[in-house]
């Protein structure tokens, strides 16, 4: 016998995930526009690996395939990993990263809903630690005239790691704007000199700043559609802005301005698509603010002083660890208990 309630509203998990995927589309479109279609190949590889690993793990764990494969959560993990690694990378890079994310970070921790760490960020972290070389060759934007490779040549490179005769990988690719900033600062240049380099655009990296704006656009849609809570992106971006702003005011030669931070690296995709993963973020409003602020602080610290060019992934993972604590600390008072101590 069923019991009440007998009716439900039908915004199911798969529909939520689907909307998140839709929200990634503007960013992906701009990615293709500026960097060519290689990213689509990466996404296809990562998604295939994600679904295959998900199916395999479900089978091993003796779980039904249909409901879990069709909830789009594995698919989303795949897309996010593809978006955080260089598109012109050997085929096994997205495949290994995604397989690790799904098999270890998701399923070994109990599957959907039970994983404490954001699988995509674990996948990314594993790759950047294990394959730092492959992870730093990013395509240059097409309008810089360096993308001399046709799609066929790119595919050829992705699957065989060989370039057409006479071409050098270094000539085709570049390190990320954040990476360049860090290296050049070490070499004694000032921020303003560095930003005159051809790879930089108006706010941050040429091309990549627009991709970040595309992700922000999708993120705003998610906020309006109430798919994600506002506290996380706001606290994260606010903290990042405030910290970088203060340091930039004090020492503009060595600290990049806030908007540079916002539109570089994974800040935007992180704010709207990664930190907001409900499974690995706090459940209370106050907790979300703390979590976002913590991630903002760590991202800034890693970017400014850490060993890696970008800090979003590690900031996310570190903050993921604090979630149970944050949740326990920030439990709200229930109806009729406002005046009392918990």
């Amino acid at each position: 016998m069923l019991s009440s309630p007998f009716i439900t509203r039908t915004l199911s998990v798969d529909r939520i995930m689907l909307r998140v995927l839709y929200a990634l589309l503007p960013g992906i479109a701009l990615y293709v526009w500026y960097f060519g279609p290689a990213i689509l190949v990466s996404i296809a590889l990562a998604v295939t690996a994600a679904l295959a690993t998900e199916a395999l793990m479900l089978k091993l764990r003796d779980r039904p395939l249909r409901p879990f494969l069709s909830d789009y959560s594995a698919l989303l993990t795949g897309v996010l990993i593809a978006l955080s690694i260089p598109p012109l990378a050997p085929w096994w890079l997205p495949v290994v990263g995604t397989a690790f994310a799904i098999a270890v970070a998701k399923h070994l921790y109990g599957g959907l809903g039970s994983n404490p760490f954001n699988p995509a960020m674990i996948g990314y972290a594993v790759l950047i630690i294990s394959f730092p070389h492959e992870m730093t060759h990013w395509l240059s934007p097409q309008d810089m005239g360096h993308s001399a490779l046709s799609l066929g040549q790119q595919l050829h490179y992705i699957f065989t790691s060989t370039l057409p005769a006479g071409m050098q990988l270094d000539a085709l690719t570049m390190s990320t704007p954040l990476d360049t900033l860090k290296t050049q600062l070490h070499l004694g240049m000032t921020v303003s000199d560095i930003r005159d380099l051809p790879i930089y655009g108006r706010l941050a990296g040429k091309g990549s700043e627009m991709v970040a704006a595309g992700f922000a656009l999708g993120g705003i849609y998610l906020l309006i559609a109430r798919i994600i809570p506002w506290q996380l992106p706001l606290a994260f971006l606010g903290t990042l802005f405030a910290l970088s702003g203060v340091f930039n005011l004090i020492d503009p030669a060595h600290y990049a301005p806030p908007l540079f931070h916002w539109f570089s690296g994974a800040a935007m995709i992180g704010a709207f698509f990664i930190l907001t993963d409900p499974i690995t973020s706090p459940t209370t409003a106050k907790g979300r603010i703390l979590f976002g602020m913590g991630a903002g602080l760590l991202t800034f610290l890693i970017r400014a002083y850490g060993g890696f060019p970008d800090g979003v992934a590690f900031a996310t993972i570190l903050m993921n660890m604090c979630v149970p604590l944050i949740d326990a600390w920030t439990q709200p008072k229930v109806f009729g208990k406002k005046g009392s101590k918990r």
């Binding site: 016998m1 069923l2 019991s3 009440s4 309630p5 007998f6 009716i7 439900t8 509203r9 915004l11 199911s12 998990v13 529909r15 939520i16 409901p67 879990f68 909830d71 959560s73 599957g111 959907l112 809903g113 039970s114 809570p229 409900p278 499974i279 973020s281 459940t283 209370t284 949740d327 439990q331 709200p332 008072k333 229930v334 109806f335 009729g336 208990k337 406002k338 005046g339 009392s340």
Partner: protein, 566 residues
């Protein structure tokens, strides 16, 4: 204009109220046979005061209240009592309860109807009259109305609940549209008995006709009552939430509205009070919505004890109807059978089919999206409660205020993973209640056992002492005799000897007790095989189910803290 507040959360399920408000309230025809349960109210069941074979008149008392929280039960029509026995009632447990069967004689012959002029009456006298007339909260919680007039604190605001927030239900709406004058008179009676000044009548703004009718009736009565349109938001009709919206006061958890100077009655209860006082009619009928998968959804005025099947027949249930729900789709219960009788709590019966209420898709894991927490009107964290209930971490569940959950279903309504959250909460609550019960029983048993041990020990000691005394006396006598015989005899120290024997006896007793304790094996579940553990779990589950049924059956014993404003 009064300033309205809001409460956290709430949901907007489709209301489906239009269907059953197209035609006026219709008097249901007199059934040939009525089944009248003796427990139709919160508290003790009424005690039968009629004999099988006895002829009764309409409105005659057939069950009298037992104890302070109880109410009266009356014959809904004239006829003959043919049986007093256990019968199936409108309770999901399908457990039978004591009912009278009344075969009507078709005469509808009223017994004595004692009308009163309430202005001359004290609150006390009115309470007695309401109790005698079996008036209970008709919003669903059926708490005895006289009890709610008895309060130690000053009550300065009377809130009248006409919110009717549950989808499908329209009995209060139609009552307000058609009988606003009677409701207003009833409100004045309750206000008089409570001695309050302010009266706020809260009606959700999706019932404009009811609001107009009530406003007109208030204007004509020239009582200074305020009719207030409140925003339509489920569960805005929960008494505590309506009070919050209308007065801004949040009734503290575990407290009653009267503790903050407010009392709350449902519109239908006010109407019943009016009928009882000014017409001398006990509560023998009520308005009930019959809707859902039927050809002619509408409201009926039906006698208490009318089998639901007769009402459903009047409205013509469609062919694919496969179950019936008493109450609304958010908080209602599935009827164990359609021929169970209408009771005072029955505000609505919904014919349901798999098309109307499709079975939910299989539950997915919780993704911690907190849509449930955003919907919860009590500001709970349903996802945490779910986690604790699922992992049998009941202590934590209580710490996270499980017992403040009003089981409104808003959380389950929005859950994207289709988790039957409320079921988990009901299960956890009943399990905690059962464990408390067991613990009390175990404590009692332990205390008894300890006392018994203590008594046995004491008796033994006393015996030993008596023995020692005897020995001492004997020794003394011997010593005396010896002393008189030979002056040089060395007297033994008798007390040392007896102390020793006594100590030895106590030691022996203690050793026995220890031995006994050691032979009671500890419940060692760690060493069991998985299969054995699974078996134990299965047994526990069965036991839990029984507990649940038992707890459900007993749940009515507690005064409901969060009623739909009865």
């Amino acid at each position: 204009m009064i300033k309205l507040r809001s409460f956290h959360g709430g949901v907007h399920p489709p209301t489906h109220k239009k269907e059953s408000t197209q035609s006026p309230i219709m008097a249901a025809p007199l059934p040939a046979q009525l089944i009248i349960p003796f427990r139709q109210h919160a508290g003790e069941a009424a005690k039968p005061v009629v004999q099988v074979g006895e002829r009764v008149l309409k409105g005659q008392l057939i069950g009298e209240p037992v104890g302070p929280i109880s109410s009266s039960v009356h014959a809904p029509t004239s006829g003959t009592i043919t049986a007093i026995e256990l019968q199936q009632i409108a309770h999901p447990s399908a457990l039978p309860d004591l009912c009278a069967t009344l075969v009507s004689d078709g005469l509808e012959e009223w017994g004595v109807r004692q009308t009163l002029s309430y202005r001359q009456l004290s609150s006390d006298e009115l309470q007695k009259h309401l109790r005698r007339c079996g008036i209970v909260g008709l919003g669903g919680a059926v708490f005895p109305s006289d009890m709610k007039l008895r309060h130690p604190t000053v009550v300065n605001t009377l809130v009248i609940n006409g919110a009717e927030c549950e989808p499908y239900i329209t009995c209060d709406d139609m009552l307000m549209r058609e009988r606003a004058e009677g409701i207003v008179r009833g409100i004045e009676i309750l206000r008089h008995a409570l001695g309050t000044d302010a009266v706020l009548i809260g009606i959700e703004d999706n019932k404009p006709q009811a609001i107009t009718a009530m406003q007109r009736a208030v204007d004509e009565s020239s009582h200074p009552f305020k009719v207030v349109a409140v925003p339509t938001l489920y569960p805005g009709g929960s008494a505590k939430h309506l009070i919050k919206v209308l007065t801004g006061v949040e009734v503290p958890s575990g407290k009653l509205p009267t503790d903050v100077g407010v009392q709350c009655y449902n519109v239908a209860t006010a109407y019943a009070a009016h009928r009882a006082v000014e017409h001398g009619e006990p509560l023998v009928s009520r308005i009930v919505t019959v809707t859902g998968n039927v050809e002619q959804p509408r409201n009926y005025e039906a006698l208490i004890g009318t089998p639901f099947s007769e009402l459903v027949e009047l409205s013509v249930a469609k062919a694919d109807t496969n179950r019936y729900i008493m109450g609304g789709p958010m908080m209602g219960v599935e009827l164990p059978a359609v021929n169970v009788p209408l009771v005072k709590a029955s505000n609505c019966v919904i014919a349901a089919s798999d098309v109307l209420f499709p079975p939910p898709p299989p539950a997915m894991p919780c993704i911690r999206c907190t849509r449930c927490a955003q919907a919860c009107p009590v500001e709970l964290q349903p996802q945490e409660l779910y986690w604790f209930a699922k992992s049998h971490n009941f202590g934590k569940a209580q710490e996270y205020d499980l017992f403040d959950c009003i089981e409104c279903g808003a959380c389950a309504y929005v859950c994207p993973s289709s988790i039957p959250l409320v079921q988990y909460y009901r299960y956890a609550k009943s399990e905690i209640r059962a464990r408390d019960h067991e613990k009390r029983a175990a404590d009692l048993a332990r205390e008894r056992h300890e006392f018994r041990q203590f008594r046995i020990e004491r008796e033994k000691q006393e015996k030993a002492e008596r023995l020692a005394q005897k020995e001492r006396a004997a020794a003394e006598a011997k010593a005396k005799a010896a002393a008189t015989a030979t002056v040089i005899a060395t007297p033994v120290d008798p007390s040392a000897d007896t102390d020793d024997t006594q100590q030895m006896r106590i030691d022996a007793a203690l050793a026995r007790a220890k031995e006994q304790a050691a032979t009671t094996p500890p419940k060692n579940t760690e060493t069991l095989s998985p299969a054995q553990r699974a078996e134990i779990e299965a047994i526990e589950e069965r036991r839990a189910h029984i507990h649940e049924l038992a707890a459900d059956a007993g749940a009515d014993d507690e005064p409901p803290k969060h009623s739909q404003g009865n």
